[in-house]
């Protein structure tokens, strides 16, 4: 049982062009920086990326977009990226927009072995078009299917050699559900510790969901909206 790999290059080495990837993070917070950089370097293309956002032009998934490695983006909000907009308007890029909670829950459904769940978001809107609607207790719900993803790539704060993961603050976001949902799950962590060092009461993602893990390097952790207040 050796889940530890040397680095991002080794972790992603069997990701081929055309693969479907889940990528953790919300905005630029908690994104798998090392693996994204390795995917850019490897140059695979025609990727389908499931991620809440699409990064900015020169960071996160934006780096994959710049190299035209993404065929389809499945996201809830993609507003921060000029190259994304260009490719979308030119028809080079396919986009499927999904309500944020539905996106999260479709990942969770996959991790919990539930093929489909009934959710409220989008009832009566164009999101409901083509979807099965069903009424429970007087309310309409949409049938939403679990995602099917070849790989899930997540970023955690700490991890151990068995693949157990702990996330930090709001960098948790989509990472735990995606970690549960990948056929192969790759985790990059800021700090990799030996099995037994994490408090077993306080692990967010049990290692059973994680197939490969490595300690990442040079995290930039770029801030998207730096908002502050003055000391009074």
């Amino acid at each position: 049982m050796n889940k530890v790999v040397a680095n991002a290059e080794e972790a992603i080495k069997d990701i081929q062009s055309g693969a479907t990837l889940m990528l953790g993070g919300f905005g630029l917070c908690g994104i798998p920086e090392n693996c994204i950089n390795a995917l850019v370097k490897k140059g695979v293309d025609s990727l389908t990326c499931i991620s809440n956002n699409a990064g900015v032009d020169d960071f996160g998934i934006g780096l994959l977009l710049q190299q035209k490695q993404v065929k389809k983006m499945v996201a809830s909000y993609v507003g921060e990226n000029a190259e994304f907009e260009r490719q979308l308007l030119s028809g080079e890029l396919e986009v499927e927009l999904i309500p944020q909670g539905t996106l999260a829950t479709r990942c969770m459904a996959a991790g919990y072995g539930m093929p489909a769940v009934y959710l409220l978001a989008g009832v009566g809107t164009e999101v409901a078009e083509g979807k099965e609607t069903r009424n429970f207790n007087g309310k309409d719900y949409l049938l939403e299917y679990a995602f099917d993803s070849d790989f899930a790539i997540v970023k955690a704060w700490k991890g151990d050699t068995q693949g157990n993961l702990v996330f930090k603050e709001t960098a948790r976001n989509f990472n735990p559900m995606m970690a549960m949902a990948g056929k192969i799950t790759i985790a990059e962590v800021e700090e990799l510790v030996p099995a037994g060092e994490l408090d077993p009461n306080q692990v967010h993602t049990p290692g059973i969901y994680v197939h490969r893990i490595f300690q990442g390097t040079n995290y930039e952790k770029r801030i998207e909206q730096r908002t502050t207040r003055k000391r009074s």
Binding site: G79, L103, E169, R172, T227
Partner: protein
Amino acid sequence: MALNKEQIAHRIARELQDGFYVNLGIGIPTLVANYIPQGVKVVLQSENGLLGMGPFPFEGEENPDLINAGKQTITTVPGSVFFDSAMSFGMIRAGKVDLTVLGAMEVADNGDIANWKIPGKMVKGMGGAMDLVAAAKNIIVAMQHTNPKGESKLLPKCSLPLTGVKCVRKIVSDLGVFDITPDGFRCIEYAPGVTIDEIKAKTAGRLTIADDVKEMVFNA
């Protein structure tokens, strides 16, 4: 005189009750946090995975791992808790959030809301708005009563693609406060100096005026 953004937020803050869990959207709704009445304690939810959001950090103390749903750097308050996005929307869907405040491009007199998409413009996505409006039990919209061309945004029917149906409970616009009722918008307060006639002229949807309609008062 029509309310400014701060006053809209100030008025909405009066809807907060002690113990409420509240989700504040981007824009004017965010400002509501600055006007929480004395003696009222609320917990702010950020749908990316936080209960107990605090104010922006002091300069130099920004933490890239700690942001709100608007991707802004924030802080936490004592008793805060982080969770994943599935649980975050789970608690919204299960009706655990007492109040959601968000902006809108259009609201219809049956409570329909449109705030995510303008045909012909680049569509950036709905983010968490559809989840919030579909599931929150109490939705207040903060908005300008008219668009820059002077056209009403309180309509008989939304012209833009919907975000959610029959979900808005109350609107606080720059002109007044409006409940959504089976008879359409009901004006329960008007902004200082704004006339009922002006409100009638600028409201395209069905409108009634409450018998006890009154002028808003700002002491602060």
